[in-house]
């Protein structure tokens, strides 16, 4: 339902993106879990504010693109990490009700709720006894 697009496939938008620009991107780590009603995707995007996050759904491809910003003033002395742009894509199938996707960003974590379309939700069938 939410399959990741990989550069290795060579055909996806991710592959085009990787060859088009010299800028390095880091795929953010994600958790994806499923409930009877929806899929929930959580992505760690440290240093990203709402305005620097670009979430896009086009041709059944969900794109997460973000630019983190450092808070620290002054000159760098020691570096253990680099704040690079985040980029990751997922294929979203028709089984997701794409109109109803919601997103929130809190403490550098993006939470996406992807509700399942009505037809794929498990349904209890009532048996009537006569």
């Amino acid at each position: 339902m939410a399959v990741e697009r990989t550069v290795a496939s060579g055909k996806g938008a991710a592959a085009r993106e990787a060859t088009r620009t010299r800028e390095r991107h880091v795929p953010p780590p994600v958790d994806i879990y499923e409930t009877p009603e929806e899929l929930v995707l959580l992505a760690d995007l440290p240093g990203v504010q709402k305005g620097d996050l670009d979430l896009r759904l086009e041709d059944n491809i969900l794109t997460i693109r973000a630019k983190p910003q450092s808070l620290a003033p002054g000159e760098p002395v020691e570096r253990e990490f680099e704040l690079q742009g985040f980029f990751r894509q997922f294929d979203i199938s028709e089984e997701i009700d794409q109109e109803k996707i919601t997103a929130e960003l809190k403490h550098g974590v993006l939470t996406l709720h992807l509700p399942k379309a009505q037809k794929v939700k498990p349904r209890q069938i009532e048996v009537r006894a006569e």
Binding site: A2, R24, V26, P28, P29, V30, D31, I32, Y33, E34, T35, L39, V40, L42, A43, D44, L45, P46, G47, V48, Q49, P68, Q69, S70, L71, A72, P73, G74, E75, P76, V77, E78, R79, E80, F81, E82, Q84, H107, G108, V109, T111
Partner: protein, 152 residues
């Protein structure tokens, strides 16, 4: 209790090579440097960057999704200890419901040595967008002094 970890050794070696290149003014292209993966790669958590100006040190830690109420900071002379907890967001979700589980979670504690002594009474910290910024004003003795040159 230190155990010999060959990967640690490799990592140390890699850092030394990076440093050797940087010390002669060659900065390796980004692709050669380890791409950071928050919470995955590091044995030390959180990863920190240290910045400095003439009055203060600024410690920036990469720590998305922390529960701010669990964060604790201890400053002593020239060291800072950051401790806290990154909760699993959905503790109630059954393991089989996960399609992917890449984000780290758990308690952590890390002590960082600072290059100079700081004034612990004026230290402050801010948690914003998943980054923790600790501002550590330098102790008076560690601040650079300007000396006026008397012209005779």
């Amino acid at each position: 209790m230190a155990r010999w970890d060959p990967w640690q050794e490799v990592e140390e070696l890699r850092r030394e090579i990076d440093r050797a290149f940087e010390s002669v003014g060659l900065r390796l292209p980004a692709s050669f440097r380890a791409a950071f993966l928050p919470g995955q790669a590091p044995r030390e958590y959180p990863l920190v960057n240290l910045h400095e100006d003439k009055d203060a040190l600024y410690l920036e830690a990469l720590a998305p999704g922390l529960d701010p109420s669990t964060l604790s900071l201890t400053v002593l002379r020239n060291s800072v200890t950051i401790a806290g907890e990154k909760r699993r967001t959905a503790a109630a979700v059954k393991p089989e419901a996960f399609h992917r589980e890449e984000r780290s979670a758990g308690r952590f504690s890390r002590r960082i040595e600072l290059p100079v002594e700081v004034d612990e009474s004026r230290a402050k910290a801010e948690y914003k967008n998943g980054l923790l910024l600790v501002t550590l004003p330098k102790a008076p003795a560690a601040r650079p002094k300007e000396i006026q040159v008397q012209v005779a």
